[in-house]
């Protein structure tokens, strides 16, 4: 049975992530203790909320260095992915610095037409912030994290801030601008969308992560 430690950093989606992992048959330990996390087979950092509060909580729990030193597979979800970056515009906070780049606020703009979407355009639409709803992934680089997930797959997003494109980018999505939706740098993985709320595609991504080992 696949084992994973889910970090309890005060995020409101902790329960839904745990239930999603349990539906996949994983053995989930919810913990905020440094020793549990350091010795885990794999680690998930979920998160709903603001970057400054999220980092403050990780400092308070003494987890910042623990996360920086992890060699096991690590997956950040939503805010958890944003915290992997150098810094965030949200609250002007320094983050974990595991992936280069800065998280910035999405700006309302026009919605690009995804080539994967086919046929004629929807009525003229403006993007709105928060970016909330099901959107398509454009896969930029093959990776075991995306095994079995097709270009154009639809997943559920809820966020106002986003990561830029960079060397770690595996898949992008767009809402007025393109942003990194799935990233990987070595053992560090991140997803801006909510796999625990993205039906079969989200379950596949979590299952892919649960099959990774260091």
């Amino acid at each position: 049975m696949s084992k994973v430690v889910l970090i309890d950093a005060g995020g409101a989606n902790l329960g839904s992530v745990r239930y999603a992992l349990e539906r996949l048959g994983a053995q989930v330990q919810v913990s905020s203790r440094a020793e549990d996390i350091a010795s885990a087979e794999r680690v998930i950092l979920p998160g709903v909320g603001a970057a400054a509060g999220g980092m403050a909580r990780l400092h308070e729990l003494g987890l910042v260095e623990v996360l920086r030193d992890l060699r096991q597979p690590l997956l950040g979800i939503c805010l958890g992915m944003q915290l992997l970056y150098d810094s965030s515009e949200e609250g002007e906070v320094e983050c974990l610095g595991l992936i280069p780049g800065r998280i910035t606020k999405l700006a309302p703009g026009s919605l690009a037409r995804s080539p994967a979407a086919g046929s004629a355009p929807d009525t003229a639409r403006r993007s709105r912030v928060p970016h909330m709803g099901w959107n398509r992934l454009q896969i930029r680089r093959e990776d075991p994290l995306l095994a079995g997930i097709d270009d154009g797959a639809q997943v559920y997003f809820v966020h106002s801030y986003a990561a830029p494109l960079g060397n770690a980018t595996l898949a992008t999505s767009e809402n007025g601008q393109e942003f990194s939706a799935v990233v990987r740098s070595g053992n560090r993985h991140g997803v801006q969308f909510h796999p625990e709320r993205s039906a079969a595609i989200g379950a596949r991504l979590l299952a892919n992560f649960l099959s990774m080992s260091s």
Binding site: M132, G133, A199
Partner: protein
Amino acid sequence: MLSRRIIACLDVRDGRVVKGVRFRDHVDMGDIVDLARYYRDQGADELVFYDITASPHGRRVDCAWVERVARIIDIPFCVAGGIRSVADARAVLHAGADKISVNTPALQRPGLVSELADAFGVQCVVVGIDSLLDQDGQWRVRQFTGDVARTRALPMPTLDWVVEVQRLGAGEIVLNCMGSDGVREGYDIGQLRAVREVCHVPLIASGGAGASEHFAAVFHQADVDGALAASVFHSGSVEIPALKRYLQSQDIEVRHDRN
């Protein structure tokens, strides 16, 4: 591109799903978890559970059913009704809901919207607005709409309230057009267009869906981000897989569940 969302609304009374017409005469529709699973399997993009008794009777939402739903559902869901404080909202979110929706308590104390946005982020905070056209031609908000005997008209024009709740921190607005609710003659396009003009966060249309064409019309003509319906889905007169195929044929971007 972002999909237009199809949202199934389940009105909850005493732990069961019910449905009324024009907000009254509720009949039992079934168990919450069974219906949640059914709509997820049908391809609903999101579910809203509206506790119609909690708000007018001053009761809190029972978090036990929220957790039961969260354990089996892998699409987002929102809980509405009976949330009056940050503590109420925290209990519902920690039980596994993705969003909470406030209506009457926000009218009674608008600062609640800001408190919720500060505590959980605007993306968790939905403001529900029940609106009705008055004889002077002005749309105004209503409160206590879960109980017909206590429903009250307020002097607040709907458009002013839409602007105000966004300033306070609403991350999404559900506009329930009471004049068209439950009668299946189509969404109130005129009102939704007027609200869309002043609404810069996601806007969800509610009230009036009776046929697939009504969904296409509200997406094309009022540019809403999602359309919510209850009775047409409960009765089976509109089935979500066929609805989505129709919307796609009308060049509307929707989600297709690929299992």
